[in-house]
């Protein structure tokens, strides 16, 4: 489903952030990408989301070479992927309901579909009673659950979560991991980056370890080892 083919990424004036990465991810996998801060985890996800272009090599999503996509086609490609960020990145002047609905609106879904799907997702992330709250009226855990709701609302084939529990306390971390596991059980491929040992161990699935821009371990049912 996803294939990084000898990908290298260099930023101006620095050494490579990623070097000669070859990585394949199959449909319905749950992959944890671990490593120290600055190891290159986020860069890997940015390449997949076409936020960055590789200096060498290519990134494939199914049969699409992500680097060949013109800017005008990026939004179509990104609708196949749900994204969750460490800092939530909710739209501050939209309510919880509107933040989730925005992803559907952007994908051109009808008002009827939005009216039926958004309340269902709010129930799923257990925030139906906070639908009309703005992000600054929500706790960190609640914001992240809204962000997950926004990521899954269009039933994407892949969910990419960059340090999704980085700003959460242990209870909220557990809840977020449980939601992601449930989504994966329903057939969605999930890639998360983390340096939280508890998260990796709780997921108990494939673990790819990156260190200084290189893949140093790739364990099918790994544990957090650094």
């Amino acid at each position: 489903m996803i294939y990084f083919d000898k990908v290298t990424k260099r930023y101006d004036g620095n050494g490579p952030a990623l070097e000669n990465i070859t990585l394949s991810i199959a449909p319905k996998e749950f992959v944890s990408i671990v490593g120290h801060s600055g190891a290159g985890k986020t860069t890997l996800l940015k390449l997949l989301l076409a936020e960055e272009r590789p200096s060498d090599g290519a990134v494939f999503f199914e049969s699409i070479n992500v680097n060949d996509l013109p800017s005008s086609a990026l939004h179509h490609y990104r609708r196949k992927i749900g994204v969750v960020f460490q800092d939530f990145r909710l739209i501050p002047n939209k309510t919880a309901y509107e933040n989730i609905a925005f992803a559907m609106e952007a994908a051109g879904r009808t008002d009827d579909e939005i009216a039926s799907d958004v309340p269902y997702i709010l129930e799923l992330v257990n925030l139906a009673d906070k639908a009309s709250h703005f992000p600054d009226q929500l706790s960190g855990g609640e914001k992240q659950r809204i962000a997950i709701g926004r990521a899954i609302i269009n039933q994407p084939e892949l969910i990419v979560a960059d340090e999704p529990t980085g700003n959460l306390d242990p209870i909220n971390t557990y809840e977020v991991v449980e939601i992601l596991k449930k989504i994966n059980e329903l057939g969605t491929t999930i890639i998360i980056t983390t340096h939280n040992k508890g998260v990796v161990d709780a997921v108990g699935r494939r673990v790819v370890t990156i260190d200084r821009g290189k893949i140093v371990r790739d364990d099918a049912t790994g544990k957090y080892v650094l």
Partner: protein, 308 residues
């Protein structure tokens, strides 16, 4: 773009504006100042045009005829002049009318009136007051009269004098002063307008700068550039429309107050009357400026954040 998307863009823009709080208020105020300056350009232009027209109307060339010239001869000259394309109008003042006007003008000056009575006859000349279509055409009218002097039956010229030479300097100076005021006034106001347009642009850019992360997220969740831009443009347009409404509303008391204070000074030009008579023109000019300014500033400001 179908109706559903248009509706979402309009609603999104409206909500952005309503929830923008202090940023929306600040942007409206800056835009109001900008549009008020553009509005003052309209008033200044009208005032200068009015002043120029009034002065042009007051300028004429008087052709005085010798006292022996008959009315018939004078009307023959009048007919000739009326055929000239440069001439706008000609009025005839007979020697008797000139005397009556002179007596009225000097009604309180007994010494002058006594001197006039002692003369026993009317010393004043009959005259033709010629108005040209444009002040620059007086010279050619005078040249015409000098080149073909009207002759009496006895062969002597019936034209006593033409007062163009005395008036010429005043006409030229006034025209020059009005043109200079027009040009300098416009340059200053245009400079202010340009500066305030740049400030309005910068304010809208700042408002959109605060939303740059939001724009990046919209891109990452799969929104197209047009769908992201749309609500920001609508917000810019709403800002422009509210600012125009404020300027139009505040212009009523402002022009009324300024009008009553300056009507004499401006030689009869009343700002409030002009505003009332030309409201539709001012409304459409400002509305167009406000909408164009709001939309253009939004499009330019958001462009750089869409490269995610």
């Amino acid at each position: 773009m179908n109706w559903m998307i248009i509706k979402r863009v309009l609603v999104g823009g409206g909500k952005n504006f309503a929830r923008g709080g202090a940023v929306s208020v600040a942007t409206v105020l800056i835009m109001t100042v900008t549009l008020a300056i553009i509005g003052s350009l309209i008033f200044l232009s009208a005032l200068l045009t009015y002043t120029l027209a009034t002065i042009k109307e007051k300028v004429d060339v008087s052709v005085y005829f010798v006292t022996t010239a008959s009315e018939q001869e004078i009307f023959a000259v009048k007919d000739q002049l009326e055929k000239l394309p440069q001439v706008a109008s000609i009025s005839y003042t007979s020697a008797e009318d000139a005397l009556t006007a002179f007596r009225q003008r000097h009604a309180n000056d007994q010494l002058t009136l006594q001197a006039l009575d002692e003369l026993g006859e009317n010393p004043l000349d009959a005259s033709l007051e010629v108005q040209a279509k444009d002040p620059s055409q007086y010279e050619s009218i005078v040249n015409f009269l000098q080149a073909s002097p009207a002759l009496s039956a006895g062969g002597a010229s019936i034209i006593d004098r033409i007062n163009y030479a005395q008036n010429k300097e005043v006409i030229d100076r006034l025209s020059l002063a009005i043109r200079a005021t027009h040009d300098v006034g416009f340059a200053i106001i245009a400079l202010f307008a340009l500066a305030s347009i740049l400030i309005a642009f910068a304010t809208i850019r700042l408002a959109i700068y605060t939303a740059r992360d939001e724009i990046a997220v919209m891109r990452l969740v799969g929104a197209s550039n047009a769908y992201i831009q749309g609500p920001f443009i609508v917000t810019g347009v709403i800002t422009g429309i509210i600012a125009v409404a404020l300027v139009l509303f505040l212009s009523w008391p402002a022009t009324w107050y300024a009008g009553t204070k300056t009507v004499g000074w401006f030689g009869g030009f009343n700002l409030a009357s002009y505003y009332a008579e030309n409201f539709a023109f001012i409304f459409f000019t400002l509305m167009l400026s406000g909408i164009a300014l709001g939309a253009a500033a939004s499009v330019l400001a958001i462009r750089k954040y869409l490269k995610v």
